[in-house]
Symmetry: C2
Subunit: 348 residues, 2 copies
């Protein structure tokens, strides 16, 4: 058996969508979810790509992800929305939120959409990108259940809640910043375990609270910069979950029934750049800023100074040409899900 199977993105996307369709989603929702997963795979972030499919099916089976979600705007003010996602796939809820925030920001200068009761939001940069394509600067955060050390503790207390910020560029793709509040995204540790590669020291602790480089024993991810990373994760929980009235950390640490369920909350802020000044001026200033940074003297061994998201942009270009490689172990797990739903495996 090969170590990996390589497929063109379009074929893989259609396959993923067919699985979600067979699992009960509408055609549109199935496509939305597949598209965001493939985008992550294309950008070299497989931890947020199609390898998530088996887990998504698990949370559908558990009744935690709703394949027939009816997303509702439950409160709307001139510059804000509270959206109840009805446990929709995060991709569906967040696309809805990004579009709504961008639309409203055109009237008020900014708009803030709060998304309550969604599920795995996946690659957060996808949604700030959507708003940036509309001329917005966008800031998004999402809150999940505890999977990371809170500074000073030896058990998990907060999630590796990500923060993404995107701005439009004069032409082409937006510049997308997307960071987890852990030293690394949790998915990267799981991915290292699946491909059998050690992780650097300082990423995580083992179950006894000792440093480890074995991804299989690395069960306690560490926050970025100690109190900074875990503090930022907590503040994202405060904004995404507590304002929305759907606390995740509290329910989980109190070990309630609700706290055992997979669910997420999120927010996205859209800032209409043109409300403050000409978008062209912004683009010109950004181009000057990038040129200045790229012209800096480099450290030894650094071939080029990269902007946020630039590595992913290049991975995407490369994989759009050469296809997406899925490790055999992940492919097997996806294949079992496909077989269950009677979806044919795509051929490379």
């Amino acid at each position: 058996m090969a170590d990996a199977i390589t497929l063109p993105a379009a074929k893989l996307e259609a396959f993923a969508a067919a699985i979600f369709r067979a699992a009960g989603m509408s055609q549109e929702h199935a496509r939305n979810v597949a598209e965001v997963l493939i985008w992550a795979d294309l950008r070299g972030t497989p931890s947020h790509g199609v390898q998530r499919i088996p887990r998504y099916i698990e949370i559908i089976d558990a009744g935690e992800m709703n394949v027939r979600a009816a997303i509702k705007v439950v409160k709307e003010l001139p510059a804000s929305l509270l959206i109840d996602a009805d446990r929709a796939p995060g991709q569906v809820a967040m696309r809805f939120a990004a579009a709504a925030a961008a639309r409203k920001a055109k009237a008020g200068g900014v708009a803030f959409a709060l998304v309550r009761r969604t599920t795995h939001t996946a690659a957060l940069g996808y949604y700030t990108r959507l708003a940036a394509l509309e001329g917005m600067a966008a800031i998004a955060g999402s809150a999940s259940w505890p999977n990371m050390i809170y500074h000073g503790a030896r058990e998990v207390g907060v999630a590796t809640n990500p923060l993404s910020i995107a701005v439009p560029r004069p032409k082409g793709e937006p510049m997308i910043f997307d960071m987890a509040t852990g030293v690394v995204a949790l998915g990267k540790i799981g991915y290292a375990a699946r491909i059998g590669r050690p992780i650097p020291e300082g990423w995580a602790l083992d179950e006894h609270g000792n440093p480890t480089t074995d991804p299989a024993r690395a069960v306690l991810p560490l926050p970025l910069g100690g109190p900074k990373g875990s503090g930022l994760a907590l503040m994202i929980e405060c904004i995404a979950s507590l304002i929305a009235g759907n606390p995740i950390v509290a329910e989980s640490l109190e070990d309630t029934e609700e706290g055992k369920k997979h669910r997420q909350n999120a927010f996205i802020l859209a800032i209409d750049i043109a409300a403050f000044g000409a978008l062209e001026q912004f683009g010109a200033s950004l181009a000057r800023t990038i040129a200045g940074l790229k012209g800096l003297k480099r450290q030894d061994g650094v071939a080029e100074i990269l902007m946020p998201g630039e590595r992913g942009d290049r991975e995407l270009e490369e994989r759009e040409r050469s296809g997406i490689a899925i490790p055999a172990a992940s492919w097997d797990a996806i294949g079992r899900v496909a077989a269950r739903f009677g979806v044919a495996l795509p051929q490379a």
Copy 2:
């Protein structure tokens, strides 16, 4: 000579205000600036406290900080403001912005204030705190000139631009998160140099790009988490400076005349918690979240799990009782400024 002089906060604040008054500020502006500096000193962040006074006088002398600034709202939309600070002290401009954002958020659910052409914004948490005292969740960032390594470079490219988020608590002081995007705030390295204490490895590089623990040689601060810290700093520049039409990084790296001047831009977003649900509910959820985190099993040697800003809250309580200690070297520098303006030194 003593190593430090210790003064009650009120006395030190009146003294600082008298200097700014003598330097040409209105009584109100002088008090505003002094109050924010003293707040930082009280909270154990002397790098943002009264030791900045000599530097402020330098930038007043250079015409970079305007003691007679006329702050103007140059654009106003339902949920956003563009404020031209006319080179006002950052403390004056940011208080104005925080109050305006909180006021407007009460109508639209959220409001975003962008502050163009201000000067040193000092302790950013002071302004998110002001908004939080009005029932807001607040997010602020400020952008300054390059003083930190951009990931991969061996010369400075971005600033240690801070990010602050504050939320109200059921009673008492808000919970205030405030982080610099560097491994540590630049002022901490300067402070270590002034008190002659070595810094930990990993905080900064020397002028040749080598690690150092000597704060006097540590001229190139490193970003938090490499590309994460420098990327976040860049995105804060994009939002605070480029949308406002006052680029700092580009002008500085292009070595223009404008780029040599001290100036900052900043933003503050206010989210009216009550627009989404009951403030009491938010407070109750926050209290549960904090209780859950404080109850986590602790790492060896950790006496207590602390919330964002909690260490500062305690330092403040302690210093309100026992006074603020200023290292002799800093006090001498402040004394020279006071003498120039004919302001009498306070007695301990």
